[in-house]
């Protein structure tokens, strides 16, 4: 009986399997691999009108279009938030219907010019595109189709299509502004988008019906000397203001700049569109500011005297505009990178709260009303040993010969030491101090980036809150003189409490 049931189940599965579409898998290659699929925005690029012999051309065309798009600010800076895969869909014919090679072409994704009677409007069969992408790049969040036809044309919507004509690349960059950043068109011609709501204003970040300065959604970008509304003259050709004409309407709706990619091909995205693009990247599918943490769980228990390394990983921005602010039991730490090392001996027995606040401080964003450029993560660190010696502070300083103010080390008590040791910058203040005492003997300050001695110091007693193992409050990590003063203060604090055993060890050395 069991065997019969089993075979019924197997046959049911077989029947279901047979009813599934039998699309043929295509060859897939990565054009840009920045990280795991569940932590990146995944773009699938599919070719249409590329025969088997045209697949090398597809690779070249696709690479060209992707390089172009990721050369545009701000995608350039945030390129590592994206994965891109190319699906080598093979067509029987080249080109597209009504294109360069004839009215009817047998292509895999049904590309056709003259879509809806508009000669340059290039449409594809969205169902075929989505099915192919789902089969071959199941993680895809966005699809782009490149059509192997030199005729100029393209389209945007749930799928972006572009012909292989290089002029079409710029249209694609514009379309991505719609699709990813939800930007409005800023031109004032045809188009049948619903009008902006006069009470609630336009939905898009780059269009407004408001013309009084304090109500303009991009007011943070408008200099006080710029008139509002702003005359459309070359005098104001590169400033952010309030220019009339946007969203298919020549009057009554305003845009931020005279020229912008959302109005003129070949122009950059204006400041306000760039800002919105960055905010949109931070709210795109899969993008997390805290991608992973070490330890992964928020509760950490230490029952040894080994250093406790805490770290957060965020998607890379190039150049990095991240700011990390660490606090231990509410006290600000000097460490400004994504990792922090704690010494159980200096932390003291008991529970401690460690927070890291991460922020993308890019100058491309001035307004972040929803706080999408910020994130926070907390650990509760429980230290069970009470007899740990403080060890190995010297490693924190590292590098930075002649450095001014290494931010690697931390202050006072050596409870926290910079994990990586940023080393000192050029020695503006001469000699400088690099690294912190970080548990070195009596708060040894290492000059010029030389490694501090690895001393030992017993933990302060559990109730001695002054010993702490936390840093001296203050934000002097990158201030040369202040940093030095704080470091010396740390040394003083440590020396004051150094017990006899520690003194003996230090003397021997």
């Amino acid at each position: 009986m069991k065997a019969i049931k089993h075979w019924v189940a197997v046959l049911t599965l077989l029947a279901l399997s047979a009813s599934a579409p039998a699309a043929r898998a295509a060859q897939v290659e990565s054009l840009r691999e920045s990280g795991p699929a569940d932590k990146r925005f995944n773009i699938a690029v599919l070719g249409d009108g590329y025969r088997s012999g045209d697949q090398a051309k597809l690779k070249t065309d696709a690479q060209g279009i992707i390089d172009y798009v990721f050369g545009v600010t701000p995608l350039k800076q945030y390129a590592q938030f994206f994965n891109v895969k190319l699906v080598h869909v093979v067509s029987n014919d080249n080109g597209a219907d009504n294109g360069t090679y004839g009215a009817t072409r047998d292509t895999a994704l049904g590309a056709n010019f003259n879509c809806d009677g508009i000669d340059r409007l290039l449409c594809v069969d969205d169902g075929k595109v989505a099915t192919a992408a789902a089969q071959d790049v199941p993680e895809y969040n966005f699809a782009i189709v490149i059509v192997n036809d030199p005729k100029y044309g393209g389209s945007g919507g749930s799928v972006c299509a572009s012909s292989s004509n290089e002029q079409s690349f710029e249209v694609l960059a514009h379309e991505i502004g719609h699709s990813l950043a939800r930007l409005a068109d800023e031109y004032s011609y045809e188009g049948n988008q619903p009008p902006c709501n006069q009470q609630q204003d336009c939905n898009e970040a780059n269009a407004t019906v408001r013309n009084s300065r304090d109500q303009i959604k991009w007011k943070d970008w408008i200099d006080a000397a710029t008139p509002v509304p702003t005359p459309a003259t070359q005098q104001y050709g590169s400033v952010t203001g309030l220019f009339e004409g946007a969203r298919y309407t020549p009057t009554g709706i305003y845009r931020p700049q005279l020229n912008c990619k959302m109005r003129d091909l070949g122009a950059d995205y204006c400041s306000v569109c760039t800002e919105q693009f960055v905010r949109s990247i931070w709210t795109a599918d899969n993008i997390q500011m805290v991608e992973s943490t070490l330890p992964a769980q928020p509760n950490v228990h230490s029952d040894t005297c080994d250093p406790i390394l805490l770290s957060v990983t965020s998607p890379p921005i190039s150049p990095s505009t991240y700011q990390y602010v660490w606090t231990v039991d509410g006290k600000l730490q000097m460490q400004t990178t994504g990792s922090l090392s704690l010494l159980p001996g200096a932390l003291m027995q008991g529970q401690h709260k460690v927070d890291v606040a991460i922020e993308d401080k890019t100058a491309m964003v001035r307004t972040d009303a929803n706080g999408v450029l910020k994130e926070q993560f907390s650990w509760t660190v429980s230290v069970s040993k009470s007899d740990c010696l403080i060890q190995g502070g010297g490693g924190a300083g590292g590098a930075g010969a002649g450095g001014a103010s290494g931010s690697g080390g931390t202050l006072a008590g050596g409870g926290v030491s910079g994990a990586a040791g940023n080393g000192g910058a050029a020695g503006a203040s001469g000699g400088g101090v690099s690294g912190g005492p970080s548990g070195g003997v009596g708060g040894v300050v290492s000059a010029g980036g030389a490694a501090a001695g690895a001393g030992t110091r017993p933990s302060p007693p559990p109730h001695d809150s002054s010993g702490c193992g936390c840093s001296v409050p203050g934000t002097s990590s990158q201030l040369g003189a202040a940093g030095l003063g704080a470091l010396l203060l740390g040394g003083v604090l440590q020396r004051r409490r150094r017990p006899a055993t520690s003194r003996r060890i230090a003397r021997r050395r």
Binding site: V10, A130, Q135, S155, G156, S158, T283, N299, D303, D306
Partner: protein, 178 residues
């Protein structure tokens, strides 16, 4: 021996059904993917809490719709070895929405959807200045990423409107779970 043969045969049928072939998942990564930039902890504490069991699969469907006639059909559906995509920030506003409906008619899951029927064309003049056109596709296709849900029976796509949602089409929720 017979049981073993049955087991192997069953595996052979089930695995391709869920799209777990190396081809389609190639490079796709997963929640436990090996491409993650994981930092090693040199020496340190043990975590006292085990890692949470995050669902690592979701349902991917491609549904074709004819908004004018409310006809809908499933073009493909499969399980994907990744968690449902997450978004930071405020709730997204979108002109369409997908609902997963249970046998009782209750909505078990909803997510915003972009309008998949509108296609835009934008073309520059000799000076690079754009003008645009929009067209409505008679047949649209939506890609849906949904959780695997017990008791789900239908997937419904609606157009969101202040006067009341307009149903664009509905299809059966796939019977085969992960």
């Amino acid at each position: 021996m017979l049981r073993l043969a049955n087991f192997i045969l069953t595996l052979g049928l089930v695995v391709p059904l869920f799209g777990c072939s190396g081809k389609t998942e190639h490079g796709g990564g997963s929640a436990t993917g090996d491409a993650a930039p994981v930092q090693k902890l040199a020496a340190g504490p043990a975590n006292v809490e085990p890692a949470g069991a995050e669902p690592v699969r979701h349902l991917l469907m491609v549904v074709e719709l004819e908004p004018a006639t409310h006809v809908a059909r499933t073009l493909t559906s499969r399980s994907v070895n990744l968690p449902l995509p997450r978004r930071r920030g405020p709730a997204q506003q979108a002109p369409w929405r997908v609902d997963v409906v249970g046998q009782s008619g209750a909505v078990l899951y909803s997510a915003p959807l972009q309008d998949a029927a509108t296609v835009r064309g934008e073309f520059p003049d000799a000076n690079g200045q754009l003008s645009g056109v929009t067209a409505q596709k008679k047949v649209a296709a939506v890609t849906l990423r949904l959780p695997w849900l017990d008791g789900a029976s239908e997937v419904r796509v609606v157009k969101v409107a202040e006067a009341g949602d307009l149903e664009l089409g509905r299809v059966a929720y796939p019977k085969v779970g992960p």
